[in-house]
């Protein structure tokens, strides 16, 4: 047992260092590539341009998250390809990264996109001269309603992917994860581990729960990626906790996967610390959020998500609460959501927010690890 644990620890440390070095070598090439293709922050849209030192960030390359995705992908494909444990987490990460990349690229090079509101559609149904078009509009009303429901969370016009498009792809990622965990990993995964209590049987309720968690965490990390180093640093502590758990579970494939993520994140954060050489972009944040969710679920530590992903959950909850307050009561709960912008407006410096959030997340990870022992 000791020899086996030593072997896992040896592998974890080796792949963390290896991945970090590989990412360090890749980073300058990626920065050069992003500058050359003019994949840069423009702040043409959005409210955040005026707060803090946003304007200084104009022109910084985005899609820096590719550094993490590519490093993790290549290393694991070559050294850690495991039919049972790694191919789905990597696949889901790639799917989320594809969605993020599509959104990032469309945000820079795409045209403005408007979504026809439900009211406009109803009006068209009444007044359009072509009966065929009217019939088409009537038949597509549920689809219009679906698009409009998710559009509550975004602004018009947008260049990037529309919210309903994102949700569909994220749902697919969640569904793949649910299928893998429920039907491929075995019956043990129909129970969720609970500290101090043992296990709770959820059965096939796991499917919607998994889909929800994947979508929720992918968006949570995406929302947290608003300040230099914030998402990256918090992810290091989160994946650090996951690595320790996978080490204690004796799961080598997950240990190596987590270690490579930490290594790549270390290199990423080195270049992302203010003033950032590049920003994560949706390509990195959605991919890391989805991967974090999948590994949390695959390691059967769903209950620890609020601890390991504490900052991400606080960030997304601040957005949800702000929306509830805004639409329900007509007021703002925070000066601006997510909460890091609220703190910026209150006068906190970017560095102060980022470092305090790192510390808070690290503390919560340690607390979660303590819980994991019970």
């Amino acid at each position: 047992m000791q020899i086996e644990n030593y072997s896992i620890l040896n592998n974890v440390l080796f792949f963390a260092v290896f991945s970090c070095l590989a990412a360090f070598i890749l980073a300058p090439l990626l920065i050069h590539f992003l500058y050359k293709l003019k994949i840069r922050r423009s702040f043409a849209f959005g409210e955040v341009k005026g707060i803090g030192q946003r304007l200084i960030k104009t022109g910084t390359p985005i899609m820096g998250g590719l550094l993490i995705v590519i490093t993790v992908m290549i290393i694991n494909l070559i050294f850690n390809w495991n039919q049972r444990f790694t191919y789905i987490p990597l696949g889901v990460m790639c799917l989320a990264a594809f969605l993020g990349a599509w959104d990032d690229i469309k945000n820079i090079f795409g045209k403005k996109r408007y979504l026809r509101s439900f009211g406009q559609t109803l009006k068209l149904i009444r007044v359009h001269k072509s009966k065929l078009t009217r019939l088409g509009l009537v038949l597509s009303l549920p689809w219009t309603a679906f698009k409009n429901i998710f559009h509550i969370f975004s602004r018009q016009p947008t260049r990037g992917a529309l919210p309903h498009e994102k949700i569909i792809l994220q749902f697919i990622a969640g569904a793949i994860t649910a299928w893998w965990i429920v039907f491929k990993l075995g019956p043990d995964w129909l129970y969720i581990w609970v500290p101090f209590n043992g296990e709770i049987y959820l059965g096939y309720w796991m499917i919607p729960i998994i889909i929800f968690i994947v979508i929720f965490l992918a968006n949570a990390v995406n929302i947290s990626d608003g300040l230099d180093g914030l998402a990256g640093g918090s992810l290091i502590s989160a994946f650090g906790g996951l690595t320790i758990i996978s080490y204690f579970q004796g799961n080598l494939p997950f240990s190596i996967l987590n270690a490579t993520v930490i290594g790549a994140l270390l290199a990423y954060v080195y270049f992302n610390i203010k003033p950032a050489r590049f920003q994560m972009g949706d390509v990195g944040s959605l991919a890391m959020g989805a991967l974090f969710a999948v590994i949390m679920l695959a390691q059967n530590r769903l209950v620890l998500i609020p601890f390991f992903g504490f900052i991400f959950i606080v960030e997304i909850l601040s957005v949800i609460l702000q929306i509830i307050w805004r639409y329900g009561l007509g007021k703002r709960l925070f000066k601006m959501a997510p909460i890091h912008h609220h703190l910026e407006i209150l006068g906190w410096s970017e560095e102060k927010i980022v470092m305090r959030f790192w510390v808070i997340n690290l503390f919560m990870v340690i607390f979660g690890l303590w819980l994991a022992l019970h």
């Binding site: 409210e47 341009k49 005026g50 707060i51 805004r326 639409y327 329900g328 009561l329 007509g330 007021k331 703002r332 000066k335 601006m336 407006i345």
Partner: protein, 259 residues
């Protein structure tokens, strides 16, 4: 006692005199809390300057927006939004004149409409005088006829209160005798397009001599900024509704909330 008789008489006589003059001339005022609300709109401190809150009405009929952009927010919310917007736009409000600040507010759709102003003042007035939540009492929509509006009005009452709602017989009754008018009553334009709120009444021999009111008037010309919220006092001579209407240039009725 005898030594103190002149003092005693003097004191009592002056008390009687004061009592008689009090009955002859009477000043009725809106509560201090409500007056504070009025002052918060009339004397808004922004960028170190004092300005009156501009008029803004949600002509576009925007729904579900922040109430500060619907002409229904409190003065504090408007000030906070101004500071926030100027922060986003990197604008130093201290470098602007009163007129420029006023224009800044008008151009960013920050202001209040007449029913929004009346609702905020009435809320304070009824809370202070009757310990009653006016926003919970007011009937805005019928659940069976307009269930969705009923729910939104429960969540966001001020945004759903219009002059029509205030003037609705379910919420207010008509005052037929001008002598009965009191602070907190609403002077409503007959076409239900505007509301003035009575803040102070001076009476002599039970006859109204002066009526003060506050309102949020709509600027009369396009691109004309002003005058914003203001309080005005009118001197009454004949004591009739017609005279009051003539002096404020409107055909009016006066209503008082039922609560």
């Amino acid at each position: 006692m005898e030594n103190n008789l002149p003092t005693y008489l003097l004191t009592n006589l002056s008390a009687y005199y004061l009592l008689i003059t009090f009955f002859m001339s009477q000043i009725l005022k809106i509560s201090d809390k409500a007056q504070k609300i009025i002052d918060s709109y009339i004397k808004m401190e922004i960028g170190g300057k004092i300005i009156a809150c501009p008029y803004f009405i949600n002509i576009q009929k925007t729904r579900a927006a922040l109430r500060v952009f619907l002409g229904k927010a409190s003065a504090e919310e408007i000030i906070e939004e101004v500071n926030f917007t100027s922060h986003k736009e990197h604008l130093d409000l201290k470098s602007l004149s009163e007129k420029e600040i006023y224009q800044f507010l008008s151009e960013h759709n920050l202001g209040i409409d007449c029913s929004g102003l009346a609702s905020h003042i009435l809320q304070a007035e009824y809370q202070e005088k009757k310990n009653l939540n006016f926003l919970k009492k007011i009937k805005i929509a019928n659940f069976w006829r307009q269930p969705w509006r009923y729910l939104t009005a429960k969540l966001r009452p001020i945004e759903n209160i219009s002059v029509r709602v205030l003037a609705d017989d379910k919420n207010s009754f008509l005052i037929k005798d001008l002598a009965e008018v009191a602070p907190g009553d609403m002077i409503i334009r007959e076409n239900l397009r505007h509301v003035y709120l009575i803040t102070k009444i001076e009476k002599e021999n039970n006859q109204i001599k002066k009526i003060s009111f506050v309102h949020a008037p709509r600027p009369e010309q396009k691109n004309y900024f002003g005058p914003g919220i203001f309080q005005k006092t009118i001197e009454m001579e004949i004591n009739s509704f017609e005279e009051l209407g003539r002096k404020i240039n409107d055909q009016i009725i006066i209503k008082r909330l039922n609560f």
